[in-house]
Subunit: 207 residues, 3 copies
């Protein structure tokens, strides 16, 4: 299996997981089916879309309808599972984390292929992974979770740094990608398990 086929498959898994997270959030807000589909889609493709706009390339989903289809499948799954969905909480978490890791790798790769410096690539990887969730929270009119809960974007940045170190050391492409993705996944899982949080700034009102 070639590197790009591999990436394509993981991108689809990530899309599926992200779409489910958006659809569930929409359900909690009692959006209708169409609204839920849109929120799922935006959660799944929002990060990559902003990345592609910034990199000035055609947004990835405009040349392949698979992302729309995957989001429809995610909606179907949420409808079918209904009551039982909470039982799969851990499964979703794993998929979501894998999706995050893969999105980061895809974002970094795409930026490097366009000759951007590594610090831009790491930002693009983080945007690809984390911006969809920010858009989801804005659409449902919630304060973006990412800014208050768990080590989400930080995991993306850590994975990006792993990518960069591995790349600089001349490690083979596929292994570099696996290391970076592993870095994201490990950071996120440990952060949730051990309840890692970043310190918050002291508010002026406390003083």
């Amino acid at each position: 299996m070639s590197n790009s086929t591999f990436l394509y498959i993981v991108e689809i898994i990530g899309t599926f997981a992200f779409a489910i997270s958006g659809i569930r959030m929409a359900a909690r807000k009692r959006f209708d089916l169409f609204g839920a589909y849109v929120v799922g889609l935006v959660t799944a493709i929002g990060g990559g879309t902003l990345r592609d706009l910034l990199l000035d390339v055609t947004p990835f989903w405009m040349s392949d309808s698979i992302y729309l289809i995957i989001t429809a499948a995610a909606l179907l799954l949420v409808i079918i599972l209904q009551k039982n969905i909470l039982r799969f909480e851990n499964t979703f978490f794993i998929f979501d984390t894998i999706g995050l890791a893969l999105f980061v790798v895809v974002g970094i790769q795409k930026s490097i292929a366009l000759d951007y410096p590594f610090w831009v690539a790491i930002i693009m990887g983080t945007l690809t992974g984390a911006f969809g969730g920010i858009l989801r929270d804005i659409l449902v009119n919630e304060e973006p979770l990412i800014f208050r809960k768990d080590i989400y974007a930080s995991a993306c940045i850590f994975g990006g740094i792993v990518y960069w170190i591995s790349f600089r050391m001349g490690v083979n492409d596929i292994i570099t990608q696996i290391l970076a993705a592993g870095g994201v996944i490990a950071t996120r899982i440990m952060a949730v398990r051990y309840k890692w949080t970043l310190p918050t700034l002291k508010s002026e009102e406390d003083l």
Copy 2:
């Protein structure tokens, strides 16, 4: 009257109607005159701007100042009507619906002219019609209405499908556009009249 003159005129009507909807929402939130103007403008041009960014063409309003002038006229009208504005509720609804329909047609046309596949064109048509209202709701910090109330974006998609079928059947351009716009208008009016709604997802909290 040429096809493009016709489209230009309807685009202006749509801009006017959308700007009014944004300005009225801003008034309800007690925004100042400038804020109301901006919300009106964003409601009117937001959808087309996102479409043009995604299609990588210069945003339409940057080459013609008419859209800024139309928004100013909409602001003036809202100020003049003041107390009497509610009497025109039905008129606004009709204009808004016509605007929506035309925006959808413009979005589809522009995408097809750039050789995008039809499913992209339908998304672009829907974005052109519906995204301005989403931006409006985000700016005034409301949960986007579109995800909970009436068949709005669904009407855009339906119109897009009508466009596609008519186009595939080799129907003349102007008639195709009229059919598609008619599809949007009819769906939206019937949806409001007969209180059509899409089913909502069952929330996990209900279970």
Copy 3:
């Protein structure tokens, strides 16, 4: 010192001031350190990023990492000052206003250099100055302040008009920029001092 070096330095001062305003807002919402950094960064670079996307040029911060570093410095300063930050309220206001003025000038210049008409340049100047703060308010889920409080964007537009008049009268570039920036600063300071506000639209609910 050349014109572009001068502009570069003022852009950095503006970035610093805008980042601080974003970080303080995030602190009030108890965002974690990473969240505060992101909100600070978005406040500082959001306006210029939208401008560059609309003008279809590479977003300015993607070719110079200084903006990320400046935002980190701003975060550090907020952490260090902590309790004492309120004492510097007036200093921040001055910096913020200078930053605003400079951002407006940069936005106008960039648009003119790309041969856009002046009304587009004035919009781009205003976006560069004001959009970052709108994004900040959306990210922390507040109704954008700009639409309700003080003469902020109006000061940008006034500065833009000063630029245009001075440019049309054939005044030297540097002087034109200083006049425009001075126009923004004077308007904003006087607006705050004399509590200038724009009238609000009468809400339909009052009637």
